[in-house]
Symmetry: none
Subunit: 224 residues, 2 copies
Amino acid sequence: MERILIIEDERDVNGLLAQTLQEDGYETKSAYNGMEGIKFLREGSFDMVLLDLMLPFKSGDEVLREIRKNSDIPVIIISAKDMVRTKIDLLTIGADDYITKPFDLGEVSARVASNLRRYHQADSKKQIVYKELHMDTEAKSVTVEGVVLELTSKEYQLFELFLKFPNKVFSKANLYETIWGEEYLGDDNVIKTHISNLRNKIKKANSKIEYIETVWGLGYRLAK
Amino acid sequence: MERILIIEDERDVNGLLAQTLQEDGYETKSAYNGMEGIKFLREGSFDMVLLDLMLPFKSGDEVLREIRKNSDIPVIIISAKDMVRTKIDLLTIGADDYITKPFDLGEVSARVASNLRRYHQADSKKQIVYKELHMDTEAKSVTVEGVVLELTSKEYQLFELFLKFPNKVFSKANLYETIWGEEYLGDDNVIKTHISNLRNKIKKANSKIEYIETVWGLGYRLAK
DNA sequence: TATGTATTAAACAAATTGTAACAATTCAGC
DNA sequence: GCTGAATTGTTACAATTTGTTTAATACATA
């Protein structure tokens, strides 16, 4: 399970965050000042830190600097709305994101999820594993249930795009412009054919899973 | 590769920035006045703009306003040290960061990297949460109380409009012209049908909440 | 030239969209 | 409160758009 450390001195705010994140399925630990936060970080392993800027004893940016000395886990800053100037500096120091008070709990959930996803993606950039599929972006090879797919260049590029952005719906214009690098003038035949060929090759490799999903009227994406 | 547009009239400063950024592994393009800068932006796709404030023909803040009309890429302002007052205004217009002259090249690198990272991370913006509803504008998916709605393209577009402008009342002409991109000639049947279908799908997802409100004689809007 | 790859074309299938006819609702004026 | 004209809502179906597949042709590379 993913563990999140919440460093926030206001007890009710801390509790609220903890409760929300627990409902989202994370394990949380609460610290009520910077020194305590750093202590917990040394002791346990965490996947993320929510860090308030205004802390007693040791201010948030000091804590952040301390964290960054020996860790690259995502840190989301919680700050008062009017601290615009500091935002920029914090991102420079190495914060990953920030949320301004008063915050919407739904937004907190979204940000946390998004940052965690990115973090976990970052250390497996070269190997993409999805369901029964394995892509090596260095070797440009793809296997489905152990069977190697012999893909052409265009097929591979399409597939890699889908796998790199698992939720995004790619419009045809989108696909065309990123892969072909030219302006899309409405001729989607090429794309449709390649998609078809790609699907066929996947199917022939004994895959029962459909990897590429059609989103009617919008485009294509990786199937869930 | 990431592309950065440098809009700066002093040739040696421009060149220095270009060189530094190229060494950092970016592709750069140089413009020497505001008009040229805007022209380049229209033609090519950039990931970031470095923008000098004091430019011939068109001042930096005009250029910034122009950029913000159709893009949200990070813009870093380069300004003389004594123009402190403007900083805040620029951040209000939509600048992401600022660097004062004379600048340290190491700092430029750091700021550029930080802003680019944040920009590419900014996908939390793409999540719209409203009451029990969650819309992912990347994945083009909508869930109500955890249930995924299977929307058609038109239905989705309508819904996204409402959610993006939560208080605005959209007249039918308004909706028709933004979504269909054609002149509205008074036939509101299409819209009514789509709204009806959309409401149905929401209702079938067990939602007790009415998300789309009719404003009699005026149009529709997101319900409060 | 031989081979694989990319593109185009065309015929077919599927889903969405628009239309039309009718039902329900709202609101102004009595 | 009624009443009815205006506005909005619903439904089913036809027309249109969009997607799939197969095959043939063009293109590139060795």
